[in-house]
């Protein structure tokens, strides 16, 4: 390992704390767009107009990684595009599920974290890391480097229109408590039972994939699982969720897991701290009532 190695952090978001935590050596951030970041030694900022994905060539030019350096990229839709461009440009292995990384070696969670793989590599490596909930700790002296992005043209792409609903702004990564709802719910309106409990315990509501894709009952941003959000809240309450690996891989790092299911053989009970076999239509209102009573003394 080189003593003077650099960890390059590529981001479009301020929530880079998990990347800073994994970083080794000097931290040099390449920030695309105008978000404010802290917790790094140097910043190269790239101004953009139009879709951020089109700026992959500029990102590649701004990351002057040397053999032994590592490049960590925020794992979101744009971050994955940058990571792909960087991996191809540096002929670098792409690492996901990074648990630990150093110059030339890493520990990776594979297949939704069911096994850990120890790898060694030559040269540069690119790692995708889930963003965190809060900005990295404040740091006062960051040297900002101007980057001459004009020398390279972005890919020719323009934004034609954007339709977003501000009310749909669920932030599961930041939530301390999450209630996950699954196929045990018979109708869309019934999810209100989970929302009522969520309201009294100050939790967000997430769901399994079938509720987003098969049924369209919930927004895509609420989807928890291996190809949706990976979360580690203080409390996760799984309601009407059987516990297939595609879902549990996204929630099994939660500090405490509570499972409510009418099937006592459901796999979710294997990873639960607290379990209740019962009909969620009876259990949820009773839990909401019990919490209210407790709060009212």
């Amino acid at each position: 390992m080189r003593d003077d190695m650099t960890t390059w952090i590529v981001t479009t978001e301020p929530t880079i704390a998990p990347l800073c935590q994994l970083a080794v050596g000097e931290r040099h951030a390449v920030v695309v767009g105008d978000c404010e970041i802290t917790g790094v030694d140097k910043v190269t900022r790239l101004a953009i107009s139009g879709p951020a994905e089109a700026y992959a060539p500029q990102v590649v030019a701004a990351v002057a990684a040397q053999p032994g350096d590592i490049i960590l990229v925020v794992n979101n839709s744009v971050g994955r595009v940058y990571a792909g461009a960087l991996a191809a440009a540096f002929h670098a292995p792409m690492l996901t599920g990074v648990r630990n990384i150093a110059s030339g070696a890493a520990v990776l969670g594979r297949y939704g974290g069911m096994t850990f793989q120890d790898v060694q590599f030559d040269g540069v490596a690119v790692g995708l890391v889930e963003p965190g909930d809060i900005p990295a700790s404040a740091q006062s002296h960051i040297s900002i480097q101007a980057h001459d992005a004009h020398a390279i043209a972005p890919y020719p792409a323009t934004c034609e229109s954007e339709e977003t609903n501000a009310h749909a702004d669920i932030n599961l990564n930041a939530a301390r408590r999450i209630i996950g709802v699954g196929r045990g719910f018979v109708a869309k309106e019934d999810i209100d039972l989970a929302r009522q409990l969520a309201a009294v315990i100050e939790a967000e509501v997430g769901c399994t994939r079938p509720l987003v894709e098969g049924k369209g009952w919930m927004e895509r941003d609420a989807y928890l699982g291996v190809s949706g959000h990976t979360v580690s809240p203080q409390l996760y309450i799984a309601v009407g969720i059987s516990g297939q690996i595609h879902h549990t891989a996204g929630i099994d790092q939660s500090e405490t897991i509570v499972a409510i299911n009418n099937d006592e053989t459901a796999a979710i009970f294997d990873i639960a701290d607290y379990g209740l076999v019962g009909n969620l239509y009876e259990v949820l209102p009773k839990m909401t009532k019990a919490v209210r009573q407790h709060k009212n003394g």
Binding site: H91, G113, T115, F116, A157, T158, D169, I257, Y274
Partner: protein
């Protein structure tokens, strides 16, 4: 003009077991066209139909992906032809090397202006291969795509973004990855399955193509540290809530 769809033949991790040494036993898991790839194939098929293009399936995997059964399974979903790299060596490849091989197959297909892929494979679910293919081709890439239509000089792409959708207009070639629910894939009919056997498929090995040799080696596997769970069971909601307060979970 050609449109390529990158698909994977993969086993379902639901049927895999982790052995005590951390190695994954896939022997009970039957590989098939990866769960969400039919969505990408369907979107590719629609774009190809709209602009009169040929639809080409490209795939990298172990020898089994070149076998008659796997070829038929894939070709019955609407491809005009296929270019497949079937080599057991690929089982050891990192996703960068897989993507580099796929980019090589796409270049071999010639005159490709759009590459479509699924959001991620069912087994590894990393969601990185489409973006690395774009990196090798030096094309733009857009992920979470729910709609794509050809324009005079490129494509109009609608993506799912946080809390909504965004439409982007791209000039020139590009790579897109679909969401898993972008379109509903057609189920192959008996006629499609019978016709699939007659579609031309080039089956290649690693020595036939240029692909980037990525220096990464697996030192070993191990079982992840088990998060010890309390596994306390309750029969009444009141008792459960009381325990959660008592243990200061709530």
């Amino acid at each position: 003009m050609n449109i390529a769809v990158a698909y994977k033949y993969a086993p379902n991790p639901q049927d895999a077991r982790v052995q005590p040494d951390g190695q994954v036993d896939w022997s009970r898991a039957k590989p098939a066209v990866s769960e969400n790839d039919p969505v990408a194939i369907e979107m590719g098929r629609r774009v190809a139909a709209a602009c009169g293009a040929q639809l080409i399936g490209v795939c990298v995997g172990p020898q089994i992906v070149g076998a008659a059964m796997a070829r038929k399974n894939a070709m019955s979903r609407g491809f005009d032809r296929g270019i497949i790299l079937a080599d057991d060596q690929s089982a050891q490849w990192n996703s960068t090397q897989i993507a580099s091989a796929l980019a090589s197959l796409i270049q071999r297909a010639e005159d490709v202006t759009l590459v479509v892929a699924g959001d991620s494979s069912i087994d590894d679910a990393q969601g990185v291969v489409p973006a690395i293919i774009a990196g090798y081709l030096q094309w733009s890439a857009f992920l979470d795509v729910i709609d794509c239509e050809p324009t005079d000089d490129g494509y109009r792409i609608t993506q799912r973004v946080h809390g909504g959708t965004r439409t982007v207009r791209v000039s020139g070639p590009c790579v897109i990855a679909t969401t898993s629910d972008a379109v509903t894939p057609a189920v192959p009919s008996m006629k499609d399955i019978l016709a699939a056997g007659k579609k031309p498929v080039d089956v290649l090995t690693a020595s036939d193509i240029d692909c980037d040799d990525i220096g990464i080696t697996t030192v070993g596997y191990r079982k992840p540290p088990v998060h010890q769970r309390k596994k306390r069971m309750f029969s009444h909601a009141d008792e459960l809530v009381a325990a959660l307060y008592e243990d200061e979970v709530l």
